[in-house]
Amino acid sequence: MIHPDSVHKLRRVYVWEQPVRIYHWLNALCILVLIVTGFYIGDPLAILSSREASAQFLMGWMKLIHFIAAYIFLFNFIFRIYWGFVGNKYASWKNFIPTNKKFFREIWQVLKMDILMMKGKEHLSVGHNAVAGISYFLVFILFLLQILTGFGLYAATSDFWLAKMFAWVPYLTGGDALLRQIHHAVMWLFILFTVVHVYLVFYHDYVEGRGEISSMGGGWKFIEEEVFQEMKREAAAKKKKSPQTAGGTGFKSVPESALKPGTK
């Protein structure tokens, strides 16, 4: 099928819809702001100022920004959950929560190929691969934990019914001290996640050359025409077999030859 001397023709696939991209960057911005202000709130800098205390409001601003970012983070998160039910198949909740054996097979394959660097069949996931998917699911749980602990700490100082809904959280931990500790520790998990996440985006872009980094900008990834056609045939065959179960994660095992560029 593949012409030995030609370079690949690439097929444009719209993977990340605009709402997903907006969610992603808003989320990234919120997390960045929350981490920076959170560090300040946790251990404020020693400032020396000759101005009156009444003329200063540094911690006040930090807290205000932290709380505003927290609200945006919360609503953005709720929106993303909603979009997991109405968005395209790459945005679907099925990418994050394992519902079938195939998901686990893919996890194993991704671990083998991308993490353990074993030799074998390369794989192609147009959207999230299974390891990324389940990682995001765990990260969503961290989001939830951070929202619960954060708003739990915030509830006592707020008159807003939404914030007050979290007033029960300190009762679970027996007070604010442990709650604060959890909130602080989970933030570190956010930092670790971000570092690994950004690295892996570069990794995929570097190794696969399908526009992984820019996909969160324009929404597109670029799939080799041959691979695309093969995926299409498989999808059609699957649809014939059982029209209900068509779809899924868009995961596909690709023979190594198909991914080789034309030049020998």
Partner: protein, 375 residues
Amino acid sequence: MPTPIKEAPTYYDEVRRKGYSRREFMQFCTMLAAYMGLSQAGIAQIAKAMQQKTRLPVIWLHFQECTCCSESFIRSSHPMVADILLDQISLDYTETLMAASGFQAEEAMKNTMTKYKGEYILCVEGSVPTDADGVYCMIGGKTSLQILEEAAEGAKAIIAWGSCASNGCVQAAKPNPTSATPIHKLVHGKPVIKVPGCPPIGEVMAGVIVHVVTFGKIPELDGMGRPKAFYSKRVHDTCYRRPYYDAGLYVESFDDENAKKGYCLYKVGCKGPSTYNACGVTKWNNGTSFPIQSGHGCFGCSEANFWDNGRIYERASAFPGFGIESTADTVGKIALGVTAGAIGAHAIMTNIRKHKMITDLEKEGRKSEQDLENT
């Protein structure tokens, strides 16, 4: 014999008999209404109750404790608090203050328990050791648990005075050698009002009792069983040094210029931001001061497990399982270093193991570039 409970005199009668004027009585009612967070109508309600109701029978038990709660109580700011609540409320049994001793005292407690079954208020100061069948704290040949269970049986409500009875306090701190247990974990099916603090504020204690007397029911409690009127705000949120906190001006060490200026004690470990109590409002010693006002951070004494909640003079608390010197930040930084190392190793491995894929992509790209050049 301890004073037998007489039917007739009301609280007001007793107060007048003691020589207080009606004006002083009304001041007392007003003060307590304010502490309890009642509206102005509440003053009249308290006054009415005090004038119409007879003494509330109280049994006050002491287990694993230091009696600081009792000390705090008898030193509450308004003299009438001590008078009305110690003399007028019938303290039929309290080891510290009762006149009787030995068999007589035990008899008095028994009398109250039978005569006022289902009516008396059981106040408990101290935690109950449950290890080794409770031998760590025994009174009159009975273990604390036996005494508590007997007394709780016929109680209308139970007030757990102080951090010992509410949370276990110092004797329940790790490793809790006697298995000191707070009251709410031992008594079931009875309302338990927790009044934590080491000690709780005298006025708060008075407020809780007067609430029960006035309204005939226990005050509204939060999710942890504490009266909302006194424990719904953080010390931090009612602190007079809060403007310094918001301004970002902090004491860095206790002997610095900032400490002299009275800046916020946040960075020297003040636990005000995680402590729910009325200290910032009611204050101590007749409203004279409270720890933060005298230059020391809040200790967090009314919070559960406050002895194990972290260091007294630092913000950060030890991260469990990583030694007492490590905070969440230390663990986080190490984890970040390990992650960076793993990423570095992975990046190197990628360039070795995926070398062919990467160079193939590069070649493909270069070929397009050359094709473009050669047109």
